[in-house]
Symmetry: C2
Subunit: 420 residues, 2 copies
């Protein structure tokens, strides 16, 4: 189990992955599930090794002066590694997304047609620090019959390589070729860029991480991309909003996990509601340590609010900061969302059913909410069982993506000599 195998190029690895994908796609569900079980066992049996390798990354991280939050994401523990293995075991209980006949029909000439789900082939996963993505993504790919090429962040290099080494050791005892999981150990940025255009071998790229990473992939890749992540989410508090619901949803959407993509970043408040509820809103935000950046009208009533500028409207805070915009009416609110939203999750708080319906229909986003927190845009919260990421694009899959997002379809046509 050596860390660096520089003799093979990224292209070599992609070719191996494609060959493995051609074997993997022919395996039945039971064979894939048995392999997942074996991988989970193997991870659990090798916790000390993985922790030793993780310690190397942590040491480098400390030397480089990474902040506490970053170090926490990087740090593995026995229980975190057991989460990886239980994640793999959970996949066993989920329906195999490949091999499902979605439609079946017969043409007048007797040609029989069926549209069946099949694995995409080879998935390229490009991600930042968290080593949990390594085990999770490999599991999701294998369950759905896909090979995967992993390119993780260099700060977690030893941890990721250790996890992949254990996965390979596990795969060697199964019918899935070890080559189905490829890990690019080069820390050269060019290694990731090579994946961007490798259309011959890579069927889809999934970037997981910050906006800069995602944009780099979207802007430079010719391989199709499943875009995930950025969520500049809004909560619109309508004139007819219930005060208690509005406050509890604002607090939850802002403070439950401020750094995730479905957290709220801007609250748009109808001017009449704001005026009627200014004291309790002010008090609620303060008591929850929420720092307010507001437009002029909201600054006038929210004590201590800073003046909001263009970046406050346009960017994610991913912190306990919130932007507050005053709206004349719902049109005003929707125009603001149209301009600054990232089509992720948008909510309206109102007791008026017509306004709610109009908002849900007009706002263009993966998930739209009436009287609920934007935090529910999440595969596990919505009951999908597993999540590859949250798509913010419109093609292929939108919103939280479960296993079916890792499949495509194939038309199988069976005849006895039909011609046109």
């Amino acid at each position: 189990m050596t860390l660096l195998m520089e003799s093979q190029t990224v292209e070599d690895q992609a070719i191996k992955a494609k060959k493995a994908a051609n074997v993997l796609k022919m395996l039945d569900t039971e064979t894939k599930d048995r392999a997942l079980e074996k991988l989970a066992d193997e991870l659990e049996a090798n916790i000390p090794y993985i922790l030793d390798e993780n310690a190397k990354d942590l040491e480098t991280g400390r030397k480089k002066g990474y902040d506490e939050a970053y170090m926490d994401r990087l740090k593995l523990s026995e229980s975190r590694i057991k989460d990886f293995s239980s994640g793999l075991r959970k996949l066993i209980d989920l329906e195999d997304p490949a091999g499902i006949i979605q439609e079946k029909w017969e043409l007048e000439n007797g040609l029989s047609a069926e549209k069946v789900s099949v694995p995409l082939g080879v998935i390229g996963m490009i991600y930042e620090a968290r080593p949990n993505v390594t085990a999770d993504a490999a599991g999701l790919a294998l369950k759905s019959g896909n090979a995967i090429v992993l390119k993780g962040g260099s700060s977690a290099l030893y941890s990721n390589q250790a996890i992949v080494n254990i996965l390979h050791q596990g795969l060697s005892k199964t019918d899935i070729p070890e080559d189905a999981v490829q890990f690019i150990s080069s820390t050269d940025r060019k290694a990731a860029q090579e994946l961007f255009t490798m259309k011959e071998y890579i069927d889809v790229l999934i970037p997981r991480g910050g906006g800069a990473l995602i944009n780099a992939v979207v802007e430079n890749a010719t391989v199709p991309v499943l875009e995930t992540g950025v969520g500049n989410c809004h909560i619109y508090v309508d004139k007819h909003a219930d005060t208690e619901k509005a406050l509890s949803i604002i607090v939850n959407a802002k403070t439950d996990r401020p750094a995730v993509c479905n957290a709220a970043e801007t609250v748009i408040v109808h001017k009449e509601w704001l005026f009627a509820n200014k004291d309790i809103l002010d008090e609620t935000l303060k008591s929850n340590q929420i720092k307010v950046h507001a437009d002029q009208a909201a600054m006038n009533v929210l004590d201590g609010a800073a003046a909001a500028g263009e970046p406050d409207w346009a960017d994610e805070y991913l912190s306990l900061d919130v932007a507050v915009k005053t709206a004349e009416n719902m049109d005003d609110a929707i125009h603001h969302i149209d301009r600054y939203g990232t089509k992720h999750s948008e909510a309206i708080i109102t007791e008026d059913a017509d306004s709610a319906e109009e908002f849900l229909n007009r706002v263009d986003a993966a998930a739209v909410y009436h009287n609920a927190s934007t935090r529910f845009t999440d595969g596990s919260a919505l009951g999908f069982g597993a999540e590859i990421g949250i798509s913010t694009q419109k093609l292929h899959a939108r919103g939280p993506m479960g296993l079916p997002a890792l499949t495509t379809t194939k038309l199988k046509l069976k005849g006895n000599g039909q011609i046109r």
Copy 2:
């Protein structure tokens, strides 16, 4: 009705389309269908005007010395224009792909969730000569609740502009904003390129035309692309192929319409079948004016065949030429398809059910056939009612795309104060 309105930029037009899309997506099916009816009427009432404008394109084409086939695609007639209007009327009978509740469930906390189909928004269509795309694409977009920005080939500029003028005249009498159909009249190549990166206003780009056009879009666009078109399709004649079926399918797939993407370009023949059927194969190809480019083994038995080189295997002929490769076995055939195929349509001819099943499962293509012609990969042949194009990609839609390919989904979540 002026031809050039250079005062507005491509961006102006895209912004107008986006605004129109926001109105259009709120319209019900009946309103959209009434508008399609009006557009069909208007086209029929203005045939002489469209033919006059078409004559200008034909004159330019003659001066430029375009070939007969090209001129034929460019030429409109009363009956061709009536095909446009009957195409629009046919859309009325098809199910509206937007507004369909695909899934509906309730979380334990009482939050109700539904996944509903919604229009993509604004479609950018970039296409070459044929003016029929102008009317067809506009109709498909409007039926599915989308606005469209059209950028047609400069050789059909007057014809396309005339059709759009009539569509605008028709739309002005309906509830659909005229701006929902935008036509870029600039012949500057940069105008099309501007669409490539206009992510803020354009939701998807659909290129229709030759490989060079499609590649230019795929390689340069940051707007998501629905890739259509290139089909380097193979017919594998297995050792156990029925002679009559094999010959009739080869002739049909090659000669019925050689210039379309689902035509066969290479026939892969099992060496034993070739030896047993060499005379009748030779005779059949000759009597159908099919020009053969073959590998050494096939050249030995097919009289007058030219030697095939790399381009014969890799490129579409789109003519009565065919490449013939001899295969040792099915593995050999599938490796050839893996290497040279474009994942469009691939067929096996055999009486052996196991071989057929293996081929259908192993070959990676949008459509795979057993004992039938590849020519059936087509929306109308498969009964889809309307076709935007044939997707050769794996994400979003694969194979012939009907109206549902012009929609995405939205999660609508309705609660009474739920937080996480």
